[in-house]
Every structure is written in structure tokens, then in C-alpha cells.
């Protein structure tokens, strides 16, 4: 499968602080990919690098086979909806569409008009007067009407109420069904990702902790509870993602392709949320742990 995004040892430094460091990740095309991780994991930096809004300090990144900061033709293939779905408050909805048409060679005016109409947005309305949900929908319209091959969205629904969130994701999924575009979407809302994404990447401290098709991830991760057992007495092909012990009992989340036959364990399914939390909880390798700075 072709890669939508491919990063190797990618890093971005601001002054002395690394926002992203040694990040190696492959994101396949033809998926709706969810990117999750704690704040400060480097998600936004990674997405901005992918959209060509930042240049790397170290390492390489290719998006749809080309450098994102390359020529305009390459930029036209990538759509980007930044965090909090920004629009120009002083411009009207119609102005936004005109601007989009002017700036994007592949602009789909019919799609933009149609979406604005269906959303019930008044073209004369200033963007600053729109509700949060409407602003997000306008930003999505601009991203979609560009007709990109890859649409990148950074936390697009974080600030929206549940109804606006649902409507936004409905619009996004409808566009995916219609135009076969690849999507990379970062979010903290795992329940949204569970519905909309078929591929998930857990990013913690610039490192990919887990990546794969959502269904495979769910099928290969299990929660086991049983009598306390020391970690060195577990099967070698188990990847122990998280382990908690009381004096009598052990509770593990393990990743394994093989079925678990040991009757001492009671096996239960994990939800995507359990899985994400287990990976986010895992301590980072020592050299990647963020150094806490003392504020004076």
C-alpha cells in the first residue's frame, strides 16, 4: 500500500526545546487515520510538518511521495484544517469561498457552494459571527473544496458541542465516501475516533507506541485478570502493554496474535479507549521523558 505520510527520525526544535524528536512513522494511504497521544506528544508539530507549515530541524518527511514544503503542485494535494478550525473573522462566508478559489488551482466551486447551502450558511454572514460548529464546518468546506488527496485535521472537534461534533464528522465521513480521500485526524476523543477511523496511531513522547488497523488492534489486545504472576513468567510472545498487581491479583493488557489458552487467566475484550490509555500510561524510555523545567 502506498504511504500517505512517511517520517524518519523527524525532529523539530524551538530554541532548546524539542517539540518532536526522532519520530519515525508510516501512515498508509486510503485510510482515515486517528492520531492520539497526550498533550506534548508532538501531534500538532507532526501534522504541521506534514502540511508544510513547518520545516524539520532534523530527519525527513515525505507526504504522498513528495516533500511537503516543495512546489505549489505538491501543496495542492494536501489539505490542512488547523487546530480550532480557524477562519478569517472579518471576512464573509462568500469571501472565504472566493479566497479559496483564488488560492487553490483545483478548487471545486460546486462542492463548496453545495456544502455551504446544505449547512444553511448565509454567504453574506461574517465568519466571526458564526457559531463554533458553523465555523468548523466552513473550515472543513475550504479543506474539502481544495479537493486534496490527503486531508489533515488537527483536533477539529475539540471545542465543539456533541451535536456540532457529530455533524462535523458526518460531513467528513460523507466526503471520504464520495471522494476517496485519505484523512489524518488528531483527537482526544477516542469514542469519535472509534467510529470514524479505521487506522490508529498512538504517539507518546514523539514515539509511535502502537499503530495499525483499528480492528486488528482490538483483536490482538486483551485484558487478563488472574492470580498474581511475575512478569518474567509470562509467555515470550506477549507484549505486555500495562500491568497492575495487588498482593494476590495481576491485571494485564497484553498484545498477542495467539489465542490465550492458560485457564488461570480470565480474558476480556478491551475497548479502543482502554487500549489507548494503556499505551499512554506506559512509561517512556528514560531518554525520551520530558525534562520538567523549574519555573522561577
Amino acid at each position: 500500500m502506498s504511504a500517505a505520510l512517511h517520517a524518519r527520525d523527524l525532529g523539530k526544535r524551538y530554541g532548546r526545546r524539542w517539540a518532536l524528536r526522532d519520530c519515525t512513522v508510516d501512515i498508509p494511504a486510503g485510510h482515515v487515520v486517528g492520531l492520539v497521544g497526550p498533550n506534548g506528544a508532538g501531534k500538532t508539530t507532526l501534522l504541521k510538518l506534514a502540511a508544510g507549515q513547518l520545516t524539520p530541524t532534523s530527519g525527513t518527511i515525505t507526504v504522498l511521495g513528495g516533500r511537503p514544503t516543495g512546489e505549489p503542485a505538491q501543496l495542492a494535494r494536501i489539505g490542512f484544517v488547523a487546530q480550532d478550525t480557524p477562519v478569517y473573522a472579518g471576512l464573509s462566508v462568500a469571501d472565504h469561498l472566493r479566497l479559496g478559489a483564488r488560492l487553490n488551482p483545483g478548487w471545486d466551486a460546486a462542492l463548496a457552494r453545495d456544502r455551504v447551502e446544505r449547512l444553511g450558511l448565509d454567504p453574506r454572514h461574517r465568519a466571526g459571527k458564526l457559531s463554533g460548529g458553523q465555523r468548523a464546518q466552513l473550515a472543513l468546506t475550504l479543506g474539502l473544496a481544495k479537493r486534496p488527496e490527503l486531508l489533515i485535521l488537527d483536533e477539529p472537534v475539540a471545542a465543539l458541542d456533541p451535536l456540532a461534533r457529530r455533524e462535523f464528522l458526518q460531513g467528513l465521513m460523507e466526503a471520504v465516501a464520495e471522494h476517496e480521500l485519505s484523512v489524518v485526524l488528531s483527537s482526544h476523543l477516542v469514542s469519535d475516533l472509534e467510529r470514524t477511523c479505521d487506522y490508529l496511531i498512538v504517539l507518546v513522547g514523539s514515539r509511535v507506541r502502537a499503530a495499525g488497523e483499528v480492528e486488528d488492534l482490538l483483536a490482538t489486545h486483551h485484558r487478563l485478570t488472574g492470580p498474581r504472576r511475575s512478569p518474567d513468567r509470562l509467555p515470550g510472545d506477549w507484549q505486555v502493554v500495562s500491568a497492575r498487581h495487588t498482593d494476590r491479583q495481576s491485571t494485564l493488557i497484553v498484545r498477542t496474535d495467539a489465542p490465550i489458552h492458560d485457564p488461570a487467566w480470565s480474558v476480556s475484550q478491551v475497548t479502543l479507549e482502554d487500549l489507548v490509555l494503556a499505551y499512554m500510561d506506559e512509561p517512556a524510555p528514560a531518554h525520551l521523558r520530558p525534562v520538567l523545567e523549574v519555573k522561577r
Binding site: 464528522l169 458526518q170 467528513l172 465521513m173 460523507e174 471520504v176 465516501a177 470514524t196 480492528e215 482490538l218
Partner: protein, 130 residues
């Protein structure tokens, strides 16, 4: 036409839920031969779910011979699931009632009964797979 829903707490993957809802509708006679299933775009736009989920569910139903896709038109029901096992339900229910009475007599409460049933059910279905 049926309308799909997703139950977040069912423990089933969204794609399985769609498959089951179609099978269920076929058993209940809500869907009959020749009926059209909602288009992928409609399902996606309604439930805000990944299109691949719907495609996968429809492929599974196709594989089971329950529906057929007509390119450019839609997906249609090709077979009804008239429930031949319905006749057996009465007797099975009676057996189950007797078993439940025995379990209560042995001192099991609701939770113990449910736990025993579910573990036995899971073990049995795992053995069937293995």
C-alpha cells in the same frame, strides 16, 4: 428501507452491528427480497462512521448470500431469512426454564446464574471455533 444505529456498549465492532441488524431485519421480515439497503454514503452521513465499515458489512452480507450489489444502483436483498428454527424455540425455552429452576434450587442468585451461563456459553463457542 431500514435505518442503522450503533450501540456503543454492545461490545461488538460497528461492522458486526450493521451485519447483525440486517440479519435481524431479515428474520423479522422487516427486509424482504428485492429491498434496497441504505447506500454507503447515506449510512456514513447518518452515523458519522468510516465508509470502510459499511463496505465491509455489506461485503460480509454479500458473502453470506443475503444481499447483492448492483454497481451504480445499490445493494439489494436477495434472500429472506425465514426462521426455520422458530418452531424449536418453545421447547428450548422450556428446557431453559427448568434449568433456571434447578439453578435457583441450588442456591445461585441472578448474577451467579448469568456468570455461569456466559462462561459456559463462551467456552462452548470457543471450542466450536477451535
Amino acid at each position: 428501507m431500514i435505518e442503522f444505529y450503533l450501540d456503543g456498549r454492545s461490545g461488538l465492532s460497528p461492522y458486526m452491528q450493521l451485519v447483525q441488524q440486517v440479519r435481524h431485519a431479515l428474520r423479522l421480515g422487516l427486509l424482504r427480497e428485492g429491498d434496497q439497503l441504505p447506500t454507503v454514503k447515506d449510512v456514513v452521513a447518518r452515523l458519522a462512521i468510516n465508509p470502510n465499515t459499511v463496505l465491509k458489512a455489506y461485503r460480509e452480507l454479500e458473502h453470506e448470500g443475503l444481499v447483492a450489489a448492483r454497481p451504480g444502483v445499490g445493494t439489494f436483498v436477495t434472500r429472506t431469512l425465514t426462521d426455520a428454527s422458530l418452531a424449536a424455540h418453545g421447547r428450548l425455552r422450556q428446557d431453559l426454564r427448568r434449568w433456571l429452576a434447578k439453578a435457583r434450587l441450588a442456591g445461585l442468585d441472578d448474577e451467579s446464574i448469568e456468570a455461569l451461563f456466559m462462561t459456559t456459553f463462551r467456552t462452548a463457542s470457543q471450542e466450536d471455533i477451535a
